[in-house]
């Protein structure tokens, strides 16, 4: 389709612009909100003319939220730290556990293999609340309530199936002959796994890791039930902005901007892996 006419180009541009506006408008709107006070946000009719302030951001970073009803302690930065901690550790643990497991499921036929793989996937079917009631009881007994370890463990329900199933597909796409060739050339099983299988599945591992990170970052319900304020991530922490003196829209908006920045940056950085990674399974090189 090299011979596109001028009209086609214009229409295509318009269509792309429309899609971009549709998807980016909420983010742009929230960004604008984050630079305003509650009064300017809530005035009617809404207006784009306002003096930008950074009070919302300073309030979040210093942890002092001033409202009409007085000053309020915020631990948003602690929430932020929790989010990073929980997401990074969960994904790391999932990769350590999931990549070798994915390899096993891809390469070896073993008894109940498919059943185990499916069971792991089925963790994604059940509503989280269904799992949470028994889990919260167990966690109390085990003393895991409100611990990072407990949360990271539960987050495996989100990350592990994702990584397992995506990465498995990549391993299946690597010709076993390539691994055989490396072994016959005189290398151990472990060396073959680390020098051949993992590097060749890298785009898939990156894509799966990124997706798992986003899902972990956005999770709300696990930490809401199983942890208290000092271990909760931003998704739960945002509830603090619903205060006695009203909803702090400006701070919420600023919190959203801060909390989506890491995932957005990561996604932008890794998008080439994502595209390459998610499509490689379909089109073999």
């Amino acid at each position: 389709m090299d011979h596109t006419s001028g009209l086609e180009k214009i229409l295509r541009g318009a269509a792309i612009a429309l899609v971009l506006v549709f998807f980016l408008f909420p983010i742009a709107w929230i960004f604008l909100m984050s630079l305003q006070t509650n009064e300017t946000i809530l005035r009617i009719p809404p207006s784009l003319a306002f003096t930008p302030i950074i009070d919302n951001y300073t309030a979040l970073i210093t942890g002092q939220l001033r409202t009409a009803a007085g000053s309020l302690q915020l631990n948003f930065m602690q929430n932020m730290f929790n989010s990073v901690m929980l997401s990074v550790c969960s994904v790391a643990l999932s990769l350590v556990l999931g990549v070798p497991a994915a390899y096993a499921f891809a390469r070896f036929k073993f008894r109940l293999g498919e059943d185990i793989a499916f069971t792991l996937l089925s963790f994604r079917f059940a509503p989280a609340l269904l799992v949470l009631l028994p889990l919260s009881l167990y966690f109390k007994t085990l003393g895991l309530t409100n611990t990072y370890i407990g949360l990271i463990w539960v987050y495996q329900l989100i990350c592990l199936p994702l990584i397992l199933w995506i990465v498995r597909g990549y391993f299946e796409d690597i010709s076993p002959d390539i691994e055989h060739a490396y072994r016959i050339a005189g290398n151990s099983w472990w060396k073959t796994f680390t020098r051949i299988s993992i590097p060749l599945a890298k785009p898939g591992i990156a894509a799966a890791g990124l997706l798992a990170f986003i899902f972990a970052w956005n999770n709300f319900i696990f930490a809401l039930i199983l942890a208290s304020a000092d271990k909760q991530p931003v998704t739960v922490g945002a509830l603090a902005f619903v205060t006695a003196s009203g909803i702090q829209y400006g701070q919420i908006a600023a919190a959203i901007i801060i909390s989506i920045t890491p995932t957005l940056a990561l996604a932008l950085y890794a998008q080439r892996y994502l595209v390459e990674g998610l499509s490689m399974g379909a089109v073999k090189g």
């Binding site: 055989h180 060739a181 072994r183 099983w189 060749l200």
Partner: protein, 357 residues
């Protein structure tokens, strides 16, 4: 003592039996071609020897030692795969160096050895290329170089010329025997191209229906095929066959389309036997005696011309004559065809084995 010995080797996948009770011994430096059609289990046999799959029963001995419990990396074999199986994230040079590095050679020795084997295989100009940037022929040579690099005692080549173009295949067919001899390794070479098999082999082992049907020199395989199946696999165009019954009145003979075709007297012992009469197209002689036939088609193929003939009872057969020969008949003409004894084989109609006349 043979360098490689396979003893009553069997492999089954579930209920599917690939082969059963294979025996084969190859001496040092010998080139044995494993020949068979698709799905005969040739590749699986190589995988078993390399150790990347395990046999269901039987043993494999390398230099007199049972290697059943030895991991592939310690068996000291080199293998080239049909699909090349190059490491896509390493360049050609690193690919070739893999077995040398794994053996712990120091870097100067590695690069010297890579340079030497690359020069031998004429890929020294593409050593920095990644596999993606190589042509199929270069890929195949790189794979071969990798298999040869560490001078393994046993070299397993799985149809290495399958995925290269016809011209290169022809060149490699000429080059490979010298190359393989130079390596001094015992070579098991898998192919389903009979010309390749004949060109390379010291011995050919024909694998069909889960067993070695015949293991013999290329000449023996061609001139004394053990079964009709083997006779059909070797030769292009393939052997002509016709159902017949051996008669003895006035000397051993068969009757084809009302014409007596005399056989060596030694076939008299098989009188009355239902057989398949087989004759190689090259052994069909056009002359003044023999089976009357009509020439249906004439196909010149470079140095030979192939005639499609049909006798009065409808039996179609091929004759392959030297194109230079005088008096090649035209399509539509009627000729008489006789059959040279050397290219004529009689097979049992039930079992398909060749009857020794």
């Amino acid at each position: 003592m043979s360098q490689l010995a396979i003893k009553s080797l069997s492999k089954t996948y579930g209920a599917f039996k690939v082969f059963d009770g294979l025996n084969l011994a190859a001496g040092g430096g010998e080139i044995v071609v494993i020949f068979g059609g698709s799905g005969a289990g040739k590749t699986i046999l190589l995988r078993l020897i390399a150790g990347v799959e395990e046999p269901t029963a039987g043993t494999i001995e390398i230099a007199g030692h049972d290697v059943s419990d030895i991991a592939p990396e310690h068996r000291g074999v080199g293998m080239a795969f049909q699909n090349f199986a190059l490491f896509p994230h390493m360049n050609a040079s690193e690919n070739i160096a893999t077995p040398l590095r794994a053996a712990g050679a120091d870097e100067s020795a590695v690069s010297a050895c890579v340079a030497k084997v690359a020069k031998l295989l004429k890929i020294d100009h593409v050593l920095n290329h990644s596999p993606r940037e190589l042509s199929n022929g270069q890929k195949q040579r790189t794979a071969l170089a990798r298999a040869l690099a560490a001078s393994p005692k046993i070299l397993l080549l799985d149809d290495p010329l399958r995925n290269v173009d016809a011209k290169l295949r022809f060149e490699m067919r000429l080059e490979l025997p010298r190359l393989l001899r130079q390596s001094g390794a015992t070579v098991l070479y898998v192919t389903q191209d009979y010309k390749e098999a004949m060109a390379l082999a010291d011995r050919i082992a024909v694998l069909a229906n889960g067993a070695f049907v015949q293991t013999a020199s290329p000449e023996d395989i061609y001139t004394r095929p053990a079964t009709l199946g083997v006779a059909r696999l070797f030769g292009d165009p393939s052997i002509n066959t016709a159902d017949a019954v051996i008669g003895t009145g006035g000397g051993a003979h068969v009757v084809l389309g009302g014409t007596r075709v005399p056989l060596a007297e030694s076939y008299a012992g098989f009188a009355g036997r239902e057989v398949i009469f087989g004759v190689r197209p090259e052994a069909v002689e056009i002359g003044s005696t023999g089976v009357e036939a009509e020439v249906i088609a004439v196909t010149p193929l470079n140095e030979r011309t192939v005639l499609l003939l049909q006798n009065s009872s409808g039996w179609e057969f091929l004759a392959s004559l030297p194109s230079a020969a005088a008096g090649i008949p035209e399509a539509g003409s009627r000729v008489r065809a006789s059959f040279a004894a050397a290219g004529t084989h009689i097979f049992d109609r039930q079992g398909g084995e060749r009857l020794h006349g």
